[in-house]
Assembly symmetry: C2
């Protein structure tokens, strides 16, 4: 226990006293239908950005601006009056997913209601609720202490659900003024059962397309069958040459840069309460299979994969059409783990496909997307600070897990600004993000606000600012 | 040389004298737009059937009827007054392919014109021209001899371009009255360069669909990648397990019933003038590949194949979608050669797929179509009779080749009526059948009519009627 664990009575009192105001503010924010991907909501998206900016100014954040990009704006604001303390960039996003199918919602998605201890509305969990938690935490700290324990820079974007096309350019353009020591991203969830958890890692991605071409037109499979290579058969052979029957990836060099799991890493995985049968039943797959020697959670979170995301060529209708397809195609992607580099992995894939592609067809491979994996270890001072803050707010130490998916912005903060990233997210795992009836457990909201105030105290005590 | 080779002066004189009338009759028949597949042409299809029936009656054929089926009618007629001679079933079809794209035709498809020694119209080659050749040949024989050297039964259908759905039922229903010794089908072409040729064999077909299913919905490839089998990867593996990289088929037992090529068979293949480079260039494939130890023509005509005709699953759009597809599918077909049985081959395929399908997905295989291969050997008396007739009419002995495609009706005559089938077709190989500007070389038409008259004489001399 450090001194920062001693309760700040005024802060706790303030937070207790302002619950209703806070909920009202949260609901007002949720009423703005800021669906980033739909042009008809562009005005709403901007309204959400302006609302955050107003909020930031009101609670005492400085240099607040609605910074224009080629798409939706980025809201920036800072408070930099803790000269000997670390500087933290706080990231969130105020855009939300579309709401269709609307008829599956139990109440209108932009008319928030509280039911069974949850706030029910689009964006409640992903990610407006978590932005609100940060704003309300800082509001309480500034209201009761007139100062913050760390320096904060807020970066809230409006295009996360559209793959953040303008965040990287904005980070690059503002790199000088964004100096910091750590980034805190609150856009993740607790573990199954709503158990407090810190996401240590995200997988990266390499997404490619393989195109196999034969004759310029479909050929009659009777007249020409036996004389020529079939692009669809050839494509199947290429795909089969990428991954062995045991799930191991056959591309030479693919695993070279994979950082092996340490004993502590594997112990953390083993500690996660996870029921393979229940998981298998939940997703409805006929069984769980994958790389031998690793648990399901390890395979999903800490091992790279290769999956066909789509495949097509030739006749897809009912009945029979007797052709040799002129061409066949596959989308193939790899989830990557530290320290795999997506561009390097693409080169390895391309070389391997060229090596194994059969004669009689033309085969090309092109890169469609790349994102780096990220990992902030359990023993990083920022992770440890977050763990203490969460334990204090939620009454138990967090679990540590690795998310199989990717949050590209996470890699952007790492690679562009050189920051360790702490993924401190407070959504509940059954929050229905991206689905009808999105919700946030209000206890997570309330305790999360407290955890954030503790986190700034813990970071001030536990992380050295850069010289 | 047999006595039948002595010229029949009256017949030759009749044929020479009636050329203009014959061409006029041919053109009148081509003017009927009997597009079998298009409902708006149903009346025209019937008109074509009635025109044949009238023609048959006029020239002296008996028991002429327009026999109703569930679809377009079958025109039947016979002449059975040669008690010691064999009985021949003559098959042709009076329906034609649709004409689109119409703008690529040099003249309207149902307004026949003669240009560069060819009759240009839809159906000129496939197959109205060849029906006309049979009618005019018999007309000349009956006009000059008042008798025929063989017994003839004409069976002309109107659904060949729609896969002959009602021919087999009709053949089965009329099996008793269709007793015969041989079937002659005139719906094939000479060899490249318009060299007289007899098609000895057609390949059969087994057409199946493989369905691979994983979870009931697409899964997020980040969240779940590594934990489950991917149906598209699994399908690729199954397809790869069906055919080796050298083109040989890996299904156990697949080749067991294949009748090996004899030295004479291979000599006949070797005699065919065929330029692999020109063929490769014509179809535009990046190269010719296939089963080792066989020439391209042998691979196309006398060896079984396995081809993916279509494959699909997951995301096919532009860009990237990070899913593990819920299901993936492939149409897979085999061209078969004697004595492979399509139903047996399907069972072998199904068992093999079940054997090699990976865990973690559900895999099913279902049969979509089956057709038997057919072969009437070079040394069959009917083939030899046809060869002599063709040599006499065209001035050189025919080549023998095996067509890679299938004519299902051919197998129907073999399996239902138990007849050897002689594929004596007179279209030119560049006839644009099924394409704009279909044509028939008029010299093939004229000599073909003569060849048919000689064929009846040759069959009378060379084929023993069944007791």
């Amino acid at each position: 226990m450090t001194e920062t664990h001693s309760p700040d009575a005024a802060l706790e009192q303030y937070l207790d006293a302002h619950r209703d105001v806070r909920i009202a503010s949260f609901e007002a924010f949720l009423r703005i239908p800021s669906v980033g991907a739909l042009p008809e909501h562009a005005g709403d998206v901007r309204r959400a950005a302006e609302a955050i900016a107003d909020d930031l100014r009101t609670i005492g954040i400085e240099h607040v601006e609605v910074s224009e990009t080629a798409g939706h704006p980025i809201v920036y604001g800072d408070w930099l009056h803790a000269p000997d303390a670390p500087t933290v960039i706080v990231y969130g996003h105020y855009d939300v997913q579309p709401v269709d199918p609307l008829d599956l919602w139990e109440s209108p998605p932009f008319e928030p209601v509280i039911r069974d201890g949850r706030m029910l509305a689009r964006g409640a969990a992903d990610d407006k609720g978590q932005i609100q938690m940060h704003l309300r935490a800082v509001e309480a700290l500034l209201a009761t202490r007139s100062r913050l324990p760390v320096n904060l820079r807020f970066v809230f974007e409006g295009e996360e659900e559209s793959s953040s096309p303008n965040l990287e350019p904005w980070l690059r353009a503002n790199r000088e003024r964004l100096s910091a020591d750590v980034a805190v991203i609150s856009d993740t969830s607790f573990f199954d059962g709503n158990i407090p958890a810190i996401t240590l890692a995200l997988r990266g991605m390499m997404y490619a397309q393989i195109d196999v071409t034969g004759a310029p037109v479909d050929l009659h499979s009777g007249t020409h069958g036996g004389a020529v290579e079939n692009p669809a058969n050839a494509l199947a052979g290429i795909i089969t040459g990428l991954k062995g029957p045991d799930g191991s990836i056959l591309i030479p060099g693919f695993y070279d840069d994979v950082v092996p799991l340490s004993d502590a890493d594997r112990a953390a995985f083993a500690e996660l309460p996870f029921d393979e049968d229940a998981y298998s039943e939940a997703i409805g797959a006929p069984g769980l299979v994958g790389e031998p020697g690793y648990s399901v959670l390890e395979r999903r979170g800490a091992r790279p994969t290769l999956d066909v995301n789509g495949i097509w060529g030739g006749f897809q209708g009912d009945g029979a059409k007797t052709i040799i397809p002129a061409h066949a195609h596959a989308k193939v992607s790899c989830r990557l783990v530290v320290d795999q580099d997506p561009d390097h992995i693409f080169e390895l894939l391309r070389e391997h496909v060229e090596r194994i592609a059969p004669a009689g067809v033309r085969t090309t491979v092109r890169l469609l997307g790349a994102g780096r994996p990220s990992l902030t270890p359990m023993d990083h001072p920022a992770t440890k600070a977050a763990a203490r803050a969460i334990e204090r707010a939620f009454g138990r130490p967090p679990l540590y897990f690795r998310e199989g998916g990717s949050i590209p912005v996470c890699a952007s903060f790492e690679s562009i600004l050189g920051l360790p990233v702490v993924l401190a997210g407070f959504a509940n795992p059954d929050d229905n993000a991206h689905a009808p009836n999105e919700s946030l457990v209000l206890d997570n909201f309330e305790r999360g606000i407290r955890a954030i105030t503790y986190l700034w105290d813990e970071l001030a005590a536990g992380v050295e600012p850069r010289p």
